[in-house]
């Protein structure tokens, strides 16, 4: 009786040897993410190069972990930075505090900040590398992660 059950168990194990592996070779092959996935933040510009962020600090108010710091300043007429009246002179996100809830994305009335697909965010030094500045956030991540499509999900 129990021998039978044990053999049945081994049967499942041996059958698994014939199936395709479920694992992926990680650093070479990255898992694509679903469109709603919330990873690293990104600040956006309009097509004319002006920043979408107007420094209203709504994201900082919404943030449950208080990881966003915004210091706003008036736009100079000769040297416009953002499309609005004011712009964010300092925009920092402390990535070691961020919990990726996406409330900043919800709060932003101008779609200036979104959470993108990148999830490889480890760094060696907290204050030096994990406080993302505005220039970093405006750049696309060097190692972008693709969205998951039906084909990618199965292969």
């Amino acid at each position: 009786m129990s021998i039978q059950a044990t053999l049945k168990g081994f049967g499942v194990t041996f059958k698994a040897m014939l199936t395709k592996p479920e694992t992926i070779g990680y650093p070479e092959h990255k898992t694509p993410v679903h469109p709603r996935f919330r990873g690293r933040h990104r600040l956006w510009r309009y097509e004319n190069g002006l920043e979408k962020c107007v420094g209203c600090s709504l994201c900082a108010a919404a943030c449950p972990s208080d990881c966003i710091r915004v210091v706003a300043e008036e736009n100079h007429p000769d040297e416009r930075v953002s499309a609005g009246e004011r712009f964010a002179r300092i925009y920092e996100i402390n990535m070691s505090r961020c919990i990726f809830c996406g409330y900043c994305e919800i709060a932003c009335p101008f779609d200036a900040i979104t959470l993108e697909n990148e999830y490889e965010l480890s760094e060696y030094d907290r204050p030096r590398d994990l406080i993302y500045t505005k220039s970093q956030l405006l750049m696309p991540h060097p190692k972008s992660v693709p969205n998951r499509t039906p084909e990618a999900a199965n292969g």
Binding site: S2, A5, V12, A16, R36, L58, A61
Partner: protein
């Protein structure tokens, strides 16, 4: 010479700053009279690590016996944890062993204390959702639902039917994922390593579905006050159907792997038995209680978020041992797939979140066109909504038992108090009566079978 005072004897006064035996007896006697446990001071005075006066007396008697006969057989105190891999996180157990037999044990908790309950008092009602989800990290949906329903009750907010269906779907998906983690890790503890790989394969598929609908794999804030953060994305229903259709077959696979296996039976049958009335007295809920034959399930006895609409069984067994808990959880996975299928078949059209502009954020597309929507948006994000003063408790059936959220409001924009009644914390109490007199090796199986998540125990 004889007139010289003799040096004070050990039980007459303070000698060298050390408390005396009589004083120790005094505090123990006082505690016994009042019928309570020992305080930390009293433990220090009695110089004995015990929690009740009876225990302390036994310990003192043993010490005296040891002094008389150093070769006497005495218990050995061993610390299990906090980093023991089979204690599910960071639980420490002070175990007293006589050979292989556990004479007594004291769980020491708090290594994963995060202060979430206190933190909630400093966040707005909306922000607190992201905190409560992180307590019992294997059932984030149950945590957030307990909190959100409590707040909804205070607000008197109606949740749309479609949102209720979405909630049920995600709760049951979460239950499946949580039970899969339980089976995998319990298997690891008992030496059945293969089952871990099989369950984590399906668990990953469940987490993928969570990522698809909520954007987060584990600590999701998908449930919001008033409904759900978003509707189902394209392709979600097909993926979910694929998952739940395949799930019963996978459960068969796990059962083939372990259920009849003699080693599995030897490790689990008759281990960790507590009679049903004792479990009820301890407040144990969830699979541990149902395995002892008590068909208590909040989904049935006190339906929330529309569970009364679905047909499902509440699996119960009679023995109340670790093997029955395993069987209950396997059956629950099957029942959960049934619930998800019913919900997908009958989900009505409608909104995924309530239409109450004073509480719920306005739809995204309205921000660009409606000034009123923008004003509401700014107000809700910066200050948050006000919740009428009052207190409310609502419980939900998490994969581990009843998770309840007690919320008190003083009418402000932040909770006055958020308290969670966490199933893991209460169920952990059953470990001591369960393990007394049993073998140390079975203790690991008992911890596993109770399925405590330390993030929920410590909060």
């Amino acid at each position: 010479m004889s007139s010289e005072p003799t040096p004070p004897q050990n039980d007459e006064g303070i000698a060298g700053g050390f408390p005396l035996a009589s004083e120790a007896r005094g505090v123990l006697e006082a505690a016994r009279r009042e019928g309570r446990g020992l305080t930390e001071t009293e433990r220090a005075i009695a110089q004995v690590e015990a929690f009740t006066p009876e225990e302390a007396s036994a310990r003192i008697a043993l010490n005296e016996a040891v002094e008389e006969d150093p070769g006497i057989r005495r218990p050995m105190v061993i610390n299990l944890g906090p980093q023991h891999p089979s204690t599910h996180g960071v639980m420490r157990l002070i175990t007293e062993l006589d050979g292989e037999t556990v004479l007594d044990l004291h769980p020491v908790i708090g290594y994963l204390h995060t202060g979430i309950e206190k933190q909630c008092e400093n966040k707005t009602w909306w922000q607190a959702i992201t905190l409560v989800t992180r307590m019992d990290y294997l059932s984030p949906y149950s945590n957030t639902l307990a909190y959100c329903t409590s707040v909804e009750k205070l607000l008197g907010l109606e949740v749309p039917v479609r949102a209720q269906y979405l909630r049920v779907i995600m709760l049951e998906l979460n239950r499946i994922a949580s039970h899969l983690v339980w089976l995998g890790t319990s298997g690891l503890e008992l030496g059945a390593i293969s089952v871990f790989f099989f369950t984590y394969r399906e668990r990953d598929a469940a987490l993928d579905l969570g990522e698809m609908i909520s954007g987060e794999r584990m600590n999701s804030r998908y449930f919001q006050v008033g409904g759900c953060a978003d509707d189902m994305p394209d392709g979600f229903e097909a993926e979910l159907r694929k998952f739940v259709d395949a799930m019963p077959g996978h459960v068969d696979e796990y059962e083939q792997l372990v259920a009849g296996n003699q080693i599995w039976l030897d490790r689990l049958v008759g281990v960790g038995v507590l009679p049903a009335d004792e479990l009820v007295a301890l407040g144990v809920t969830g699979p541990a209680l149902r395995a002892a034959g008590v068909p208590h399930d909040l989904r049935r006895s006190n339906p929330y978020t529309g569970y009364e609409r679905f047909e499902f069984d509440i699996p119960t067994f009679e023995n109340g041992d670790a093997y029955d808990r395993f069987r209950v959880r396997m059956r629950e996975i099957r029942e959960s797939t049934k619930i998800i299928q019913q919900a997908l078949d009958s989900i009505p059209e409608g909104s995924h979140i309530a239409d109450d502009r004073k509480v719920v954020l306005p739809p995204r597309e309205e921000l660009a066109v409606s000034m009123e929507a923008l004003i509401h948006h700014f107000k809700l994000v910066t200050e948050g909504y006000r919740v009428p003063a009052g207190e409310v408790y609502s419980g939900v059936e998490s994969p581990r038992g009843e998770i309840g959220c007690y919320v008190a409001s003083d009418g402000g924009t932040k909770p006055y108090r958020v308290h969670m009644r966490d199933a893991s914390f209460v169920n952990l109490q059953a470990l001591r009566p369960m393990a007394k007199g049993q073998y140390l090796a079975d203790l690991v199986a008992m911890i596993g079978s109770l399925d405590n998540v330390m993030g929920g125990v410590d909060r």
